[in-house]
Symmetry: C2
Subunit: 354 residues, 2 copies
């Protein structure tokens, strides 16, 4: 029986996507060749890449608005570096909401002055700072939309005149936003988009070409744009599975549809966390992530029993990140509502039997 997969990432993908992906590994496009053994310059794969790039713009509502889509490699960790390499002339402003923001700041420091406009480090990143000023002379403002590790999520993004760069690795395609408020969005695929191994970049072309430094080819967004995201051999399989997942989302009804499902899942779980006297949430209620719910047992001595209950219920991936502890239920797009119900049932069973 398929497990209830709450893994934080790589994470659950739609069953029909996995089926099609497995078929393509044996025979892709009815050509009697595996997807893994054809040229990335062959027509069938070029059309996969084109479709994936077009679906991203369509789903985000960014068609004909000057944005380019790239499927790169190296994860968000490489984007920490590339964003700064391509955009940072003198000064950049960063909001520090946790591990990933901190890493982004560390890598960008090579390239100029970094202003940390606010940080929630004082309370172990359990909230999203709200009152801060973005210097008007910053080359860009950088934030992390959703903090996978601590379970916080930015609900309202600041209004600013400077370009906004957003690491959306763990909540892209999960909720409707005015995506045109961002100038550069990047996201590792392995949450809501596909398997580990490709990184989505959505960039407004008009912000590029303004730094004076020489940029190595592989780190230069303009180089990748000029080659239609095929400057070098792309990660063919990861791009294909991403395309399938994007198509699955479009067929369901797009982001506005999945957002309703995600809201229901998060409501169901957070209500139980707040109601059940054995549990407590980790972060400020108003900043709770709808993707990653972090919570703890009020009494440590129930841990063994709770762990065996959820494990017996076929639940997977519920342990909190090693830097936080407790539990983390990741509820990405492909996780069905009934999996959240299964978790809630176990929490209630613990309450009845503890």
């Amino acid at each position: 029986m398929k497990k209830h997969n709450f893994s934080a990432g790589p994470c659950i993908l739609p069953e029909e996507v996995l089926q099609k992906a497995a078929e393509a590994v044996i025979n892709f496009n009815n050509d009697n060749l595996s997807l893994l053994e054809i040229s990335h310059r062959s027509k069938p794969f070029v059309s996969v890449m084109e479709k994936a790039r077009a679906l991203v713009l369509e789903l985000l509502g960014l068609e004909n608005k000057g944005y380019q889509v790239l499927f790169l490699q190296g994860g968000a960790s490489t984007q920490f570096l590339m964003a700064a390499y391509n955009l940072l002339n003198k000064k950049a402003a960063y909001l520090n909401t946790g591990t990933w923001s901190s890493k982004a700041i560390k890598e960008a420091k090579f390239f100029g002055e970094l202003v940390e406009v606010a940080s929630s480090k004082d309370k172990n990143f359990t909230y999203i700072p709200k009152d801060y000023t973005i210097p008007s002379d910053a080359d860009y403002f950088h934030c992390t939309s959703n903090n996978t590790i601590f379970g916080t999520q930015i609900k309202e993004f600041p209004k600013t005149e400077v370009p906004v760069v957003c690491d959306m690795s763990s909540d892209i395609f999960s909720r409707q936003l005015d995506f045109s408020q961002f100038d550069l969005i990047y996201a590792g695929a392995q949450k809501n988009m596909g398997p580990a191994g490709t990184t989505l970049v959505v960039v407004k072309e008009s912000i590029l070409g303004k730094v004076s430094r020489t940029i190595p080819s592989m780190l230069d967004y303009q180089v990748h744009i000029s080659k239609d995201s095929m400057f070098n051999t792309p990660p063919v399989f990861a791009v294909y599975v991403s395309m399938l997942t994007l198509q699955w989302l479009k067929d369901l009804g797009g982001i506005s549809f999945i957002e309703q499902v995600n809201n229901k899942k998060a409501d169901l779980l957070y209500k139980e966390i707040d109601r059940n006297p054995l549990f407590q949430g980790v972060v400020e209620k108003e900043d709770r992530s709808f993707m990653n719910a972090t919570f703890t047992l009020k009494k440590d001595n129930l841990k063994e029993r709770f762990d065996s209950l959820w494990s017996a219920a076929g639940i997977n991936g519920l342990n909190g990140h090693r830097s936080v502890g407790g539990y983390r239920a990741s509820m990405y797009n492909a996780l069905p509502l009934y999996s959240v119900q299964a978790l809630v049932d176990v929490m209630q069973e613990l309450e009845r039997t503890a």
Copy 2:
């Protein structure tokens, strides 16, 4: 019917590897979860990564010799940059044998003085330069072992006191060499090792840590080594398929076994190219690649007939690279001898019927 797949890369992989890869996309490790939706920090995947790294050292005969193995992202194109970032203080020596060497040179120029010790550009890279001097004060010497595009291959590597860096993307694991003569080997996976999406790095640790510049984390070999090749989320699927392919090679008898098969395939095809009056090889005989055989028709007017013959015989991927033209038969490890025989049969049929 499965095609005879002469694709230059991504290229043919062993059938049993493709079968196991497809199974893992549905159910990995009998855990009722897809390989694509489990944490890269889960025990089953950590053991895949460890096994893949160990198999590389074992197959190359580099165990207990101070080498570290990494599975990174970004292709050889990213290694052009990383090698220089990590090793180039003042001066480096490069041998220019074609497109990939030229690109490596271009990226390394950001970091110091580049000495091109020799180049075969004068004859469109149809031979391997042999008499050249490597400056003894170079930080390293860089070469490309096999030129996929032009079809040349270095048979003997120069003896030098400076560290040797080798791009082995298109012939690693295909022939026995004393791999300890290299200090840094890198290779995109998508020829003899696995699908596109991961890059193998084999590096002698003692050559690292000698440059004064600050290296961004994702470009720093020492960072990746310190995290056992898991500094950030690795390309899980590509690493798994690489591990399967390495295991397949080991089970067959390792490099010394596959080298004999590769020699037979290359002999069969090159003999026909030399014998058949309708064809001619593109490169110097002594420098012919045993992975990528480039050849042309002596008479252009036979092209249409030859193309329809090989296409009808179920042969795939025989067109030469757009920068060379003609034909290119790539005979990577997983290509069976009977596929080469099928191509030779077609060449002889053309001769009989032209």
